[in-house]
């Protein structure tokens, strides 16, 4: 009997030159959370045990995929420039007629070690698909 896939998660999928991540979750905020966790895992982020910090973030975009790229790109930038990463993400996403709005409350810490820097989050074949049990997408990272 095959193992049952958890309701939310991520897994690395093969890509010749770069890194690809399959992410699934019951709803959009959880999908974004899983994508962030998967990206940090690919980069080998290890957080410092002490000195936890909090940060609020608001992003807008014309669609859910663009919002996802903007969100992950923001986390990459903070990781490189401020050496900070977040392991507790509280996200709200509101889909309006013209734009998607993300409000995030992030808790994390300084990065103790980082195995690999991801250059960028790409739009390559990026599509958030609706499944019976929620949402799924594949994200290609340039490394």
């Amino acid at each position: 009997m095959g193992s049952v896939r958890p309701l939310a998660g991520y897994e690395e999928v093969p890509h010749t030159a770069d890194w690809a991540l399959r992410v699934w979750a019951p709803d959009l905020p959880s999908l974004f959370q899983q994508a962030a966790a998967g990206m940090y895992a690919l980069a080998g982020v290890v957080l410092a045990a002490d000195a936890h910090l909090e940060r609020d973030l608001t992003l807008t975009a014309s669609d859910a995929e663009t919002l996802l790229v903007a969100f992950l790109s923001e986390l990459l930038y903070v990781a490189e420039q401020e050496r900070l990463a977040f392991d507790h993400l509280t996200l709200t996403i509101v889909a309006g007629p013209q734009e998607y709005v993300l409000q995030a409350h992030l808790r994390g810490a300084a990065i103790r070690s980082l195995a690999k820097m991801i250059k960028a989050v790409t739009f390559h074949n990026l599509k958030i698909r609706s499944l019976e049990q929620g949402l799924e997408t594949e994200i290609i990272f340039d490394v």
């Binding site: 010749t16 690999k116 340039d142």
Partner: protein
């Protein structure tokens, strides 16, 4: 894609006709042997080339090199020309690492005599050329000076004493792309660039010491300063976080631009804007600024490599340890060039992503000594394997937008390489075969294992048989520095 869908032109050239898919605006021309084609038939390289053939304003065929592999949006090893100024420019068809490229420096240090000192050399190169995740550079610059780098590229390095006029003469675009516009570079990109100028970074970037193993074209090699049995140095890197941020910024921004201009594409990573639109002009100015940053970056690393060579060899050798620049080339770039299309000169924007400019003899933009030879082409291998020096040809001007291959090209995913290769064991194997290794990350080393790449000799045989480049010399690695 099935190989039956391809039309064989010769043993080294194939075509996907424009009729393959209704939205193609031109054919796809592939330089490859059947064996190389079979290697890529399971990934998305050829589908991505077909997608690239849908770019508005495409002129002629999209060209794909034998080192092709699946990328994101546009295949690595791809070349596409769009009409200037009414066609489009696509940041994703140039890549995140704008002006990623290779610099080759040659010495007169005899390999056999240098062997006792190569460990010291590898250690000093590793010390003086900052590498690894988020590494910071060898110089500190403020924002005003960064602006000068973005405008003046390697010429800034000359004015600061990090370069010679001879270095600039032997750099593509003479080390400075005109019409760069720092005002179109975001604050975030500038911040990342300011901290990283003069650093190698990580990933597939490296500094490699090679011995010139075989010369195929003696006069060309003499002109370039390549001597059989002597040491040379390759530097492979690009525009670091500055280029990555510029590409990310404009791929995001162009998601809206394509709606404004009514452009429909099969992949959102291919988003583009007309070259003569405000958005297109802004990206072109920013991309050129990133290109200048990369020229300056490789120049600073060359300065550091020269310091390592001098400290290693000057105490033991009376002369010959000075590193003379052979050439510096870009392999991720968009350029406005004039090419002949159906016998008439046409201005086009040539997007090269993982492809090297390979202009033939007499082409503009070459220093006088290289005019009779054609543009030098630097094709790095994959740590344990050979690298090549080639020159461009007349045929590359006719068949491939004056372009040829850029490396070996990956064939194995990073995930698989990490599973199959242990970094420490690979390091030991390379050391046993006479290649000194200095690597910041063993998993990172494993991802870049030679077995993850195609056979670079087969790639070079393909482009030379196809006539889009000519062999000059083959190099063998003796020391590798990786982030």
């Amino acid at each position: 894609m099935r190989l039956q869908d391809l039309v064989k032109i010769s043993d080294y050239e194939w075509e996907i006709p424009r009729t393959y898919r209704h939205d193609m605006r031109g054919a796809v021309r592939i330089f490859a042997t059947r064996q190389l084609l079979e290697q890529v038939s399971e990934d998305l390289s050829l589908e991505q080339a077909v997608n690239a053939a849908t770019l508005p304003g495409l002129v002629g065929a999209v060209v794909v090199m034998p080192d092709m592999h699946q990328g994101y949006g546009f295949p690595i090893g791809g070349v596409a020309a769009t009409a200037y100024p009414h066609g489009v420019i696509s940041p994703g068809a140039i890549g995140y690492d704008i002006n990623c490229g290779v610099r080759l420096l040659a010495s007169e240090v005899d390999y056999e005599a240098a062997v006792p000192y190569l460990d010291t050399l590898a250690t000093l190169l590793n010390r003086y050329c900052p590498s690894g995740v988020g590494s910071e550079g060898v110089v500190r610059v403020n924002m005003a000076e960064l602006d000068q780098i973005l405008r003046r590229g390697a010429r800034w390095a000359l004015e600061r004493g990090f370069a010679s006029e001879a270095d600039l003469q032997r750099t593509e675009e003479f080390g400075m792309v005109a019409d760069a516009d720092p005002a179109q570079v975001s604050e975030r990109a500038r911040q990342r660039g300011r901290e990283q100028i003069g650093s190698l970074g990580a990933g597939n970037h490296f500094i490699e010491v090679d011995v010139i193993e075989q010369i195929f074209d003696v006069p060309a090699a003499e002109t370039m300063g390549l001597r059989q049995g002597c040491l040379a140095v390759q530097i492979h890197c690009g525009s670091r976080g500055l280029g990555h941020q510029i590409c990310s910024d404009y791929v995001q921004e162009f998601q809206n631009a394509v709606r404004r201009y009514g452009i429909e594409l099969p992949d959102r990573e291919l988003v583009c804007a007309p070259l003569d639109s405000p958005e297109g002009r802004a990206y072109l100015g920013a991309m050129r600024a990133a290109a200048n940053f990369a020229f300056a970056n490789r120049q600073l690393l060359a300065y550091s490599a020269r310091r390592a060579f001098e400290e290693t060899f000057a105490p033991h050798f009376r002369h010959g340890w000075q590193l003379i620049q052979v050439y510096d080339i870009a392999h991720n770039m968009g350029k406005i060039e004039t090419h002949k299309v159906e016998g008439r000169p046409v201005r086009v924007c040539v997007h090269r992503k993982g492809a090297t400019r390979a202009f033939g003899p007499g082409a503009p933009g070459l220093p006088p000594e290289y005019q009779p030879l054609g543009q030098p082409v630097l094709v790095p291998g994959s740590m344990g394997t050979a690298s090549w020096v080639l020159v461009g040809t007349e045929r590359s001007m006719e068949r491939s937008w004056g372009s040829t291959c850029h490396g070996a090209g990956r064939v194995m995913s990073r995930a698989k390489a990490k599973k199959e290769v242990r970094g420490e064991r690979l390091r030991q194997e390379l050391e046993q075969s006479g290649i000194r290794v200095r690597a910041g990350s063993m998993p990172g080393l494993a991802e870049e294992a030679p077995q993850a790449y195609k056979d670079v000799d087969m790639v070079v045989e393909t482009v030379t048989h196809a006539g889009i480049a000519r062999k000059v010399a083959r190099l063998r690695p003796v020391a590798v520095i990786k982030g």
